[in-house]
């Protein structure tokens, strides 16, 4: 596990991203000021419960949310260009070619009535003129690259004729078709069974190395994060509550929520080290309603610590943890327990 190279400009730089949806009950504030960088050759893991805003953030970057209900603000610079507020056509050129995406459920994410060749071909043709033979040979190459044997005959298959793992490989082939510099994998292994998950993770890691892509893994599965991430960002209620280099964050989590996820809360008497836990610990309570976010720290109603009177009135700023932690380790909490105490 290498630590992220801090030299060189990031491929993608997101600053203060905010997304809200218009609903009948009022605006639902789903993402509330999220910032992160994606560097070439590095993997950023975005971790959170469902509803924490992690998927919405990535869709917002590419303008894939419905304009009629979604309002996106903030900044996202990719390859020197601002993405937020761009026209549909400008964003379209970035989709697939600049930033590729792999989604959760390969069954529903592929069109059931079109062949594999057709669906990969669409991704190729979206950004350049390609002849039919060109599409066929390039699509077969891509299938081989994502580890599908007998590519030529698989091209004629429909999605339902493939296994779940195969389908996800096809999704990855589609995402690779435009030669993206950033690959966003949105819960890409969640719908798969465990052995297949491992294969897909390995595949993405290999492709990342070969293509030098920046990868964003969006997941709720800490097992995935521990294995491949360089940098981890923990989201709660549309905000980053803690981020840092993977070893640093896993060994010395600061935020009560992160500790909860890792099963390392002081109140929870569990002798096992965090690394031995492979999934989110189920915490009591539910994430807040984005239409009716609590005042102060969004986590405070569920927080077992609630260290400070300000918890219920002020939003704790995201600030660097003391110097003995990794340089990029930052946390948003008033709690000063654990290692800092």
């Amino acid at each position: 596990m290498s630590s992220p190279p801090t030299d060189g400009a990031p491929l993608l730089s997101v600053r203060d991203l905010q997304v809200s949806f218009r609903t009948r009950r009022g605006p639902a504030r789903v993402v509330n000021g999220l910032s992160f960088d994606v560097h070439a050759g590095c993997t950023l893991a975005v971790v959170g419960e469902s509803g924490s805003g992690k998927s919405v953030s990535s869709l917002a970057l590419l303008g894939l949310l419905p304009d009629a209900v979604a309002e996106v603000r903030g900044s996202a610079v990719f390859g020197g260009d601002e993405l937020i507020g761009r026209t549909e056509e400008q964003l379209r050129r970035v989709r697939g070619a600049g930033i590729g995406m792999v989604f959760q459920d390969p069954m529903t994410s592929l069109n059931p009535v079109l062949t594999v060749e057709r669906q990969i071909g669409e991704a190729l043709r979206a950004h350049e003129k390609v002849s039919d033979e060109g599409v066929r040979s390039r699509a077969a190459e891509l299938l081989t690259e994502v580890g599908i044997p007998d590519a030529a005959s698989r091209l004629r298959a429909f999605p339902h004729q493939l296994s779940g793992g195969m389908r996800q490989r096809v999704m990855i082939a589609i995402a690779l078709a435009g030669n993206p510099r950033v690959l966003i994998a949105d819960e890409a292994t969640t719908a798969l069974d465990v052995t297949v998950q491992a294969q897909i993770i390995e595949l993405v890691a290999r492709l990342q190395e070969e293509h030098g892509m920046g990868v964003v893994w969006i997941t709720h599965d800490l097992g995935v994060v521990a294995g491949i991430a360089d940098h981890v960002l923990v989201m709660y209620a549309g905000r980053c509550v803690e981020e840092g280099a993977v070893d640093d964050l896993f060994d010395r989590p600061e935020h009560p929520y992160t500790r909860g996820l890792l099963g390392a809360l002081p109140v929870v008497d569990d002798p096992r080290p965090a690394r031995e836990r492979d999934d989110l610990v189920t915490m009591p309570g539910l994430p807040p309603d984005p239409v009716d976010l609590p005042a102060g720290c969004a986590f405070h109603p569920r927080c077992p610590v609630r260290a400070d009177a300000r918890c219920a009135t002020e939003v704790p700023p995201l600030a660097a943890v003391s110097a003995d932690h990794g340089e990029a380790h930052r946390v948003a909490t008033f709690y000063a327990g654990g290692d800092r105490a």
Binding site: L64, R92, A126
Partner: protein, 317 residues
Amino acid sequence: MTRYVLRRLLQSVAVLLGVSILVFAIIQLVPGDPIRAALGQQADPETYAALRERAGLDDPVPLQFVNWLAGAATGDLGVSFRTGETVLSQILARTPATLSLAGAAIVVALLIAIPLGTISALHPRSPVDWFASLSSQAGLSVPDFWLGILLILLFAGTLGWLPSSGYTPFTEDPVDWARHLILPAITAGVSSGSILTRFVRSSVLESLGQDHVRTARAKGMRARDVLTWHVLRNALVPLVTVAGVQLAYLLSGVVVVEYVFAWPGLGQLAFQAVESRDYPLLQGTVLLFAVIFLVVNLVVDLAYARLDPRISYRSAR
């Protein structure tokens, strides 16, 4: 799948038998002597006796039914009380007109429904959507005979562009056939168009929310290509079956429209049969409509079961 087909076939045969009993009962339920009612009191006694003999009205009722059913199964629907022609030949003579009208009406319905339903699904809660929902509500509520009269008033009367009524067989003069067809087809197609508009809207809306549409956009495909290949293509597969059901409704639903436009189809034939108390003719047309309706519904159900294999499990209760 085979079990489902068999089951569905058997069901249709059972319903068809029930339908036959009811259709057969029409002549039995008429108060008094049906032939007397048709011919009037001053009928020629010989004609009267011949018809009574031919219709077998003196046999016991169960035997009459068996004979009638056996005849109907082989295409013998009896002879008209009025003209003495066979019912089948009269029905066959009228079928092309009704088929043209119902076929043209479903085309009109689809021409209304696909664009309007798609546009309103693409802009939900917009003024266009509001207009589409209001006009489909209106299209369902407007009496077709009134709409027909209004169209005649405007396009045949005031503007003088199209003939107000009548029919030319396609084989005689295709252009004239089409000119006569336009107004009746619009009149008959509006209500189906309204139903289909609602269907297309909800189908496209559902399709828009599918994950694979998001994938297509994430590939960087142009919006128009996404709409054609991933939204519409998938949304319109079920439309085939719904339009089939509408066609079945239209085949019989055009009766009043035929009346308004003096369109010599099966509906007109049914009215003639009622007016002249020609009961064998009425039985024949009613039976034919019911059979068409049953067959189209059966075909649609089986086609749908092929398209969606989950169906056969679900309805095999």
